[in-house]
Point group: C2
Chain length 402, copies 2
């Protein structure tokens, strides 16, 4: 299995400048950006240089910065670029520390978390596995981006250990649901979008406004206990099969840094309703190259350009009923899967619900995840001038149920 | 239709002492309690008397007070009782204002909002209406309290107008989903529980600990657009049909005030798994008498004692997979419906999806809600010594889609 070749260079060059929240020792958390393997403390830099919004950097989350709104997002990014591009090299050096010397915290205080189901390949595969007697796609699937609310209180930052959840499973012939640690623990490789601008209750957000509301992009692992989920999810949807943990990357790549990765959607038929339509520039797909590793072994290379529904359509759908957005809301794409077996973003699909285990480099096999397994999602996109924009990685280790 | 007779007296006598957050004019919001039709400003009283936790009352939500933990909840309630029972009549008078002179705000900063489906009668009715070709109850229903996450960012306080949501509906023969304002807007009469004590990720909360985690009780209207919901909800559950608004009462009745209303559950068969079992004292039902009014006309008198699953079981189930609780989490019972047609907690059930409209006092009929309708939920329980504990009412007016 091979990843599309990426442009050379360091993974976090100065055209990416992802935001995060870091802490040195027992110090106060601050907002920072990453350059190669060093971290620039923006609170320190802003204080040293008298930045007018210095207060938003001396914070434990990106929410106050995001709440300044999209014009300020662009101004702040220009300011950071100007620092890094050399006009304040002395300040940058003084305010930077090695990545290894800081702890990265959850970058966002998450309001609501919504998870979509926007890959046609994923939805069809899940349909075939969970509902073999029904059509692979439900009748609504091509008319609206299906989504549901997840648990925002269990969104955790990359590096957080994941305790194997326990729960009920579908009963056998005795009618009693077996109970215990999940035997079908899975990852889902997803892309998450951080809402940086709020909206009013009762006011839908049109597709054309998406860039003004989406602050940035994270990689997201929607950990899933397939056995718990299969028993519980009819009729009100996934609940405990998902709510034990959702991991996001520590680094939030500004949407602005991904401008060169915008791409056409693969095509929608039937044509969606007007509120989900717009010029292709409004709808914008993203050509993000993803990879999934288990214990360092590459097991999938999903391509985000394969997604049927776009982030702008997800945002428009989520608010068309008048639901408001808050600064810090998070919405995710759903599992990124394509047609090619290499591009399947969950073990459920790759192993067909465990029936076709995969073999890792060490010779061991996996139907689902085992205790001790480390799952890491990575991603990158082409930037301007043949540069590479690296997405924040998200990683987590499975701990046995205690 | 008649409500069970309630003990005489004022609706908010000094044994209830519900908490809320009020604002006078453009002043700072403060935590208060209600006594009859007056509001005692606890921030002012605590400052006047030098209360050790005075800071938690000068706040825009109950969250800091709740975060002190259950021992402090009991101490603070004893302190308030002592004030009101007369030993500080002068301070109480000086720190009280008429209810009419304050604005009541959303009392809680809501973390995650989970809605359950705990009435057997409601679940069976919905099953018959939405899935006429399947058994009324899904096979998992009697093994676990089914629940799903709702949108916490659109939880609003009683008195907030509700804009009729728009959305897609199931297509007819042309295959194109009709789009527009919901034509099947409904209420759901529910009881909500405010989590006041957090729990650790990975640590289930047993049924026996429910009283240490549940701070108080609100009435809750889970507004529902049945046409939007029916088209969207397979396979990932309700989303836009619910997420436009959820109303809660401004007043949070401490669980401690409802001790005399604890009652046995109606009975569970089959016996639930051990994590959902306990002595009946651990599981505790609540004998709450509810009523639903449309434009002042009584349309339903649901009885909370009819609920199959108890709040303690909901809490234990919600966390059995290791999901953590935050201070301010809200979980609700689902529609409270019983066997008697008078006790059905939604128009979906009362009018059987609009097929059997009800007539109001003014001679008009309702299949579902019309623009301008005001829906009000009220409730009470028996207190100690033949007193009455009144639950906070929750009310909202439907505005036309603009």
């Amino acid at each position: 299995m091979t990843q599309p070749p990426s442009p050379p260079g360091s993974p976090y060059e100065a055209h990416t400048l992802p935001y995060g929240v870091c802490q040195r020792g027992a110090g106060e958390p601050t907002v920072c950006v990453r350059i190669d393997d060093s971290v620039l403390d923006l609170a320190a830099a802003a204080a040293a240089l008298g930045h007018p919004h210095a207060g938003v950097f001396a914070q434990a989350s990106l929410n106050p910065l995001m709440a300044l709104g999209p014009t300020a997002w662009r101004e702040i990014r220009r300011w950071v670029v100007s620092l890094v591009d050399g006009d304040r090299a002395e300040v940058v050096e003084r305010c930077s520390v090695d990545l290894a010397d800081v702890t990265m915290l959850l970058p966002v205080e998450v309001g609501d978390y919504v998870d979509f189901y926007a890959s046609e390949w994923h939805a069809a595969n899940v349909g075939k596995i969970f509902r073999p007697d029904s059509p692979a796609l439900p009748p609504n699937w091509k008319h609206l981006p299906i989504g549901y609310h997840g648990r925002s209180g269990t969104v955790v930052v990359s590096g957080t250990d994941i305790v194997r959840p326990q729960g009920q499973r579908r009963p056998g012939s005795d009618g009693v649901p077996p109970f215990g640690p999940s035997t079908k623990l899975d990852f889902e490789c997803e892309v998450g979008f951080i809402v940086g601008q709020a909206s009013e209750l009762g006011q839908p957000v049109p597709v054309s406004a998406a860039r003004e509301h989406i602050f940035g992009v994270v990689l997201l692992n929607d950990w899933s206990a397939r056995d718990i989920q299969a028993w519980e999810y009819v009729p009100l949807g996934p609940f405990l099969g998902k709510s034990f943990a959702t991991s996001i990357s520590a680094w939030v790549v500004p949407l602005e840094a991904l401008a060169a990765a915008e791409t056409a959607l693969p095509g929608q038929d039937p044509e969606p309703l007007p509120y989900l339509s717009g010029s292709n520039g409004d709808l914008f797909g993203l050509d993000l190259h993803l990879q999934v590793e288990i214990n360092g072994h590459l097991v999938a290379v999903p391509e985000f350009r394969d997604m049927y529904w776009s982030p702008a359509q997800m945002l428009a759908h989520m608010t068309v009923n008048g639901a408001s957005l808050r600064v810090g809301d998070l919405f995710a794409s759903g599992t990124v899967s394509g047609k090619d077996p290499q591009t399947l973003g969950s073990l459920l699909e790759t192993t067909w619900n465990g029936d076709r285990p995969i073999e890792l480099v060490d010779g061991s096999t996996r139907g689902f995840l085992e205790d001790g397994d480390v799952v890491t999602l990575r991603g990158w996109a082409a930037g301007h001038n043949e540069s590479r924009v690296t997405l924040g990685e998200v990683s987590g280790r499975i701990l046995d149920h205690r």
